[in-house]
């Protein structure tokens, strides 16, 4: 990459997610790993002739899953950031493919707050901001649930004050 005079790049958004998000992601990874591993392990315990060929993939999956659960969430926590200014919502996500999404306040149509069962356990929430574009939705996952409620309220207030049909 050429870095000369006048070269610009996107700066990282100001805010990190709630640190509890790391735990939430870990729990998701562990649940995701546990499902196939338990099935394979139970089958391995019951079916004696195929025991080795069932327990081996179970062990491999378990190691991979736990590895991901330990390493990835901490990494994600560093890359996932968000920011809300008076003009726009700005979010950065992704590790392998980084993505920066910007939605101007004047074009926001709906603001949704969603809390799944696991998120509730970790007192987290996801805020989804949609615009009139089918492909322009901005999601902020892993916010503290009170921060999320406050943010949703603020966004809703700002968008209501903005005239026009946001297209």
């Amino acid at each position: 990459m050429t870095t000369g005079e006048g070269t610009v790049r996107l700066r990282p958004p100001n805010n990190t997610l709630d640190p509890r998000a790391v735990g939430w992601w870990r729990a998701q990874w562990l649940l995701l790993t546990a499902a196939p591993v338990v099935v394979l392990a139970v089958l391995g315990a019951l079916i004696e002739p195929a025991r080795f060929w069932l327990l081996l993939p179970a062990a491999i999956l378990a190691v991979l899953g736990i590895g991901c659960a330990v390493l990835l969430p901490a990494w994600w926590f560093r890359t996932h950031r968000w920011e809300v200014t008076d003009e726009a919502v700005y979010v950065r996500t992704g590790v392998f493919r980084q993505e920066w999404r910007i939605a101007p306040m004047s074009r926001i149509q709906t603001v949704d707050t969603v809390r799944g069962p696991l998120e509730q356990l970790y007192r987290l929430a996801t805020v989804t901001v949609t615009t009139a574009s089918a492909k322009g939705a901005v999601r902020i996952e892993g916010l503290d649930h009170e921060t999320a409620a406050g943010l949703a309220e603020r966004l809703t207030r700002i968008t209501q004050d903005t005239p026009g049909d946001a297209t």
């Binding site: 990459m1 070269t7 610009v8 996107l10 910007i102 939605a103 101007p104 322009g136 297209t167």
Partner: protein, 522 residues
């Protein structure tokens, strides 16, 4: 049409024979001849089905009895279709109010739907051959919301005069102050010479394949599939297998070309693009089935100049509208709904794009900023992978199993690599983006090259994406999201810094707060 006077506003009170109320005058019915149309259409279908059924039955009951049975069945079918449609006609009424358009329909499940008039974005008229003969037309009134079927009201059918009246009344708005250079009336009409682009479209091979499939299917109905294959085999008894394949392929292509020409004539005959007072673009076309599509210019966010590989090699392009609020239901999924201009010579396409956008020069013709060489490398690498992975798999299997696969692998490599490299280089040449007047222009694609000119004011957000490989190559993809058209238009693999500068320039103020200068040490 003759609006029945005595119609109660609520259809569930008594089937249309209640006493006239104050509002009853406004309620209108569909045209009564819909019953006739249904009966005739069903008769046509019945006639089509009757021949194989009679042949099938005559084997068991004798010819006379079979004919009698089939006739009775056909009569029953036509009768029930007519009665059913009569009931539908009786139970359907609509009203154009000052604020809302209402449609009540349904026998058991009464559906009452209404659209706010200010939300109506499109009024489209279609008439198939039978309807045209009777002077009828199907009207679709759409809001252009993306939410399912509830956004479209269908009046099937009303008279042509009533359809025109609805279209004018519903789309007529206070004429907006019309900025810029523009003209009203006919913008472009069909040039029959454009038919030369029909056979090179992707329709032709598809139709050829379909024709071959249809022959097999129909012969299967008559239990004669084996005989057809035998007959074909006999024709080619003295020729080699290769010659037979070539001849059959040529025949299929010829059938496809004929089909493509026929389809083109049916779709685009009488094509005309007009601008009407009040800021509406109207497209009329169709030989047998006539269609009229209206696009409100207020909803137009730009145009997309589409050049599929076939017609691009002949210097032609198609123009699609990028608009919010074109009907998105099943009928319009075929894709030609938002086409403003069929494949036509590139200068014509550019001129039409400029006319439609009320510009002197089309932004689609603006010189574009190219993308860095890294983008070409990425495309070439992608092509190599796409060719070499299957080749490697084939070669591996060939080494293990049979040498035939080895030769197949060699063939794939010999054909695939040059084709892949050609397409990759072409794709790279196609990449480009710029800001031209009120529009931002992005171009990409090789099999379907698209030059989208999107109104800068229509951009409602940015998405910037960068994979690990793009980061290493110093490129990124900038996507403008919009409420119109495909929802997002992307400049792929722009220079990391220049792409962001382009986005910041296109929509001032939106991206700037989030940009920072890279320190020269970098």
């Amino acid at each position: 049409m003759s609006p029945e006077a005595a119609v109660s506003p609520s259809p569930d009170t008594g089937g249309g024979h209640g006493p006239a109320t104050a509002t009853a005058v406004d309620w209108r019915r569909l045209d009564r001849r819909t019953v006739l149309v249904s009966a005739l259409v069903t008769a046509g279908v019945a006639a089509g089905a009757a021949v194989p059924t009679t042949l099938g039955l005559s084997g068991r009951f004798g010819f006379g009895a079979a004919v009698a049975w089939v006739l009775a069945g056909a009569a029953l079918l036509i009768g029930s279709a007519a009665v059913g449609d009569h009931v539908r006609w009786r139970r359907t009424r609509y009203r154009i109010g000052a604020e809302r358009v209402e449609l009540h329909t349904g026998l058991l499940l009464v559906k009452k739907r209404s659209l706010a008039r200010e939300r109506i974005r499109s009024v489209d008229l279609t008439a198939h051959l039978l309807q045209r003969a009777l002077g009828l037309v199907t009207v679709r009134i759409g809001t252009g919301e993306h939410s399912g079927n509830d956004s479209t009201l269908e009046l099937d059918p009303v008279t042509v005069a009533e359809g025109e009246r609805l279209r004018r009344e519903l789309l007529e708005r206070t004429a907006t102050g019309t900025p810029g250079i523009h003209r009203e009336g006919e913008l472009v009409a069909l040039d029959p010479r454009w038919i030369r682009y029909a056979p090179v479209s992707f329709v032709a091979p598809a139709l050829g394949g379909a024709a071959a499939g249809a022959v097999m299917q129909v012969s299967d109905w008559f239990g004669a599939q084996g005989r057809v294959i035998e007959w074909v085999g006999e024709r080619f008894r003295d020729t080699s297998l290769t010659a037979m394949i070539v001849i059959l392929a040529v025949a299929a292509v010829a059938a496809g070309v004929v089909g493509a020409l026929g389809l083109w004539v049916e779709m685009w005959w009488n094509y005309r693009l007009e601008r009407e007072p009040g800021g509406t673009l109207r497209i009329r076309r169709g030989l047998l089935t006539s269609r009229s599509v209206s696009i409100e210019e207020r909803r137009l966010r730009g145009v997309d100049l589409v050049e599929p590989l076939g017609i691009r090699t002949f210097g032609a392009a198609r123009v699609d509208a990028i608009t919010t609020g074109l009907a998105k239901d099943d009928e319009e999924q075929h894709g030609d709904h938002n086409t403003l201009l069929p494949a036509a010579p590139r200068p014509v396409a550019d001129a039409v794009a400029a006319d439609v956008l009320r510009e002197t020069v089309s932004p689609t013709g603006a010189p574009l900023t190219g993308h860095p060489l890294a983008a070409r490398g990425r495309r070439l690498r992608r092509a190599y992978w796409a060719v070499l992975v299957p080749v490697a798999v084939l070669a591996l299997l060939g080494a293990l199993l049979t040498p035939v696969l080895l030769w197949t692998a060699l063939g794939c490599a010999v054909v695939g690599l040059p084709a892949g490299v050609f397409l990759a280089r072409d794709a790279y040449r196609g990449l480009g983006h710029t800001v031209s007047g009120d529009y931002l222009v992005v171009r990409s694609g090789t099999v379907r090259r698209s030059t989208a000119a999107l109104e800068r004011a229509g951009v409602i957000g940015w998405t910037v994406g960068q994979t690990y490989f793009q980061r290493r190559a110093g490129v990124l993809s900038v996507t403008a999201t919009t409420a119109a058209g495909a929802g997002a238009y992307t400049a792929y693999d722009t220079d990391a810094s220049e792409g962001l500068a382009f986005a910041a320039e296109a929509v001032p103020g939106l991206l700037e707060p989030f940009l920072e200068r890279v320190p020269p040490a970098g």
